[in-house]
């Protein structure tokens, strides 16, 4: 998702609004023919910048051209009361609604800015620690949290356990990989990516879980460096010593 380059305009309505304001046009009497041409030209420019994002604008361009055509028709459509329908009416209504929310977003932005100049307690959670309350990393749970958690679980399951590779998966058990990691760490450890280079996805996942497990038991040290996508696995000081009894077999 890279909606960066089209940024001067939040969308097709925003672009349309821009023309209207720039030319100080009465929004209730938009010179559709002229605006449609100009709009189309702007969309062509946008297409060069970002074709994907331009798609949103093309729909409105088409709408403008359609309204332009209808305005050229000799006999206008009539409404229920026999009054001629202004082909622009619906668009104008949408535009005005959009203006309201655009304005509101500006006001909200101001409030947000003002609020961001105030800072709340930074280490409030330290009180929790100091008083021996729960230190578990916790989340306030909403349905979104629930769905995100599910997404995470599925991602792990999908990459770790594709059904057709059942045999391969079995060969990478966490306890086996723990031993493998400890072996590598005794040799000096290194960047995780390096350690698992050219290995299968299943191997990488299970090894990663093994590293997490070992780090939790403080049998290895995980060090984050400059590369946010990687970390180093190193011996704990002084010498890697298996922490739990369950690890003695691996040592």
């Amino acid at each position: 998702m890279h909606r960066v380059q089209l940024e001067p305009f939040e969308g097709p309505l925003d672009l349309l609004l821009f023309f209207i304001r720039r030319d100080e046009i009465d929004v209730h009497d938009i010179p559709i023919a002229r605006i449609a041409d100009e709009y189309l030209e702007a969309v062509r420019v946008l297409e060069h910048v970002d074709l994907d994002a331009a798609a949103d604008f093309i729909y409105t361009a088409a709408l403008l051209i359609q309204i332009k055509a209808r305005m050229l028709m000799p006999r206008p459509d009539l409404d229920d009361e026999g009054e001629p329908i202004d082909p622009r009416a619906e668009l104008v209504e949408r535009l005005l609604e959009y203006v309201r929310f655009k304005e509101a977003s500006g006001v909200l932005a101001g409030r947000f800015e003002a609020r961001q100049r105030l800072w709340t307690r930074g280490d409030a959670s330290a009180e929790r620690q100091r008083l021996g309350a729960s230190t578990e990393v916790t989340y306030r749970a909403t349905i979104f949290d629930l769905v995100s958690a599910l997404g995470g679980a599925l991602e792990r399951a999908a990459t770790a356990a594709p059904a057709q590779h059942a045999v391969e998966r079995e060969s990478f058990a966490i306890d086996v990989q723990r031993a493998w990691v400890l072996e590598r760490v005794r040799e000096g450890g290194g960047a995780f990516r390096q350690l698992v280079a050219r290995r299968s996805k299943a191997f990488v996942i299970v090894t990663f879980l093994a590293v997490l497990d070992l780090a939790q038991r403080q049998a290895v040290r995980v060090v984050f460096g400059v590369d946010p996508m990687d970390f180093a696995v190193e011996p704990t000081e002084p010498v890697a010593q298996p922490a739990g009894p369950s690890l003695s077999a691996a040592a």
Binding site: L13, F18, D56, A109, L118
Partner: protein
Amino acid sequence: MSLTADTFDQAVEALVFASDVALRAEDVARVYGEVTGAEVTSQDVAEAVGRINAAYRDGGRAFRIEQWAGGLRLATVEGLAPFVRALFEKEDERRLSRSLLETLAVIAYKQPVTKPEVDHVRGVGSDYALRQLLERDFVTIAGRGEGVGRPLLYATTDRFLDQFGLDDLGGLPSPREIEEILADPAFNKERARLLSEMTAPSTEATAPPTTDSADVDA
């Protein structure tokens, strides 16, 4: 510590101080009651907050107890922002892109609202913005609508209120009249510049680089 009126104020202060979310006056009263056995009301808490804030003001303290998202929260006073900002440097969290703000505005004023409704008002798909707002906990799923397929409804969160310094949704500013907005000459000069640069780079004089902030004050 003996239970004097002072102790009540201190307890209120300690609770608001220790909490990392806005704390409702009822909760303060309840916790105080549980610990001491004394009966106190939200009103008592509100009065204590008044006394504490007065003491902060008189003593030149760096913070006040604010009332946000229906709860009490300690926050620094405005003038000290430059110092705190310099300490943290990371500004990213404290910025919202225009598309996030626009999407948030539609949800805030129209809630509960479905995604198609938001898309319709904005004229563009809001998936990305919506996802960001959910992730930043400004917006949450609030149930399902009545229509075909019972679409999910979105609404703002307490964190939204907190981060926008609002006590409740009634505090949302009412937008100006349409005509007034349209006539405002301050509207987006910056974007006029950007468009002319895009379409005819050579003709227009180059304005100094500006940020989104022009839009923000509009």
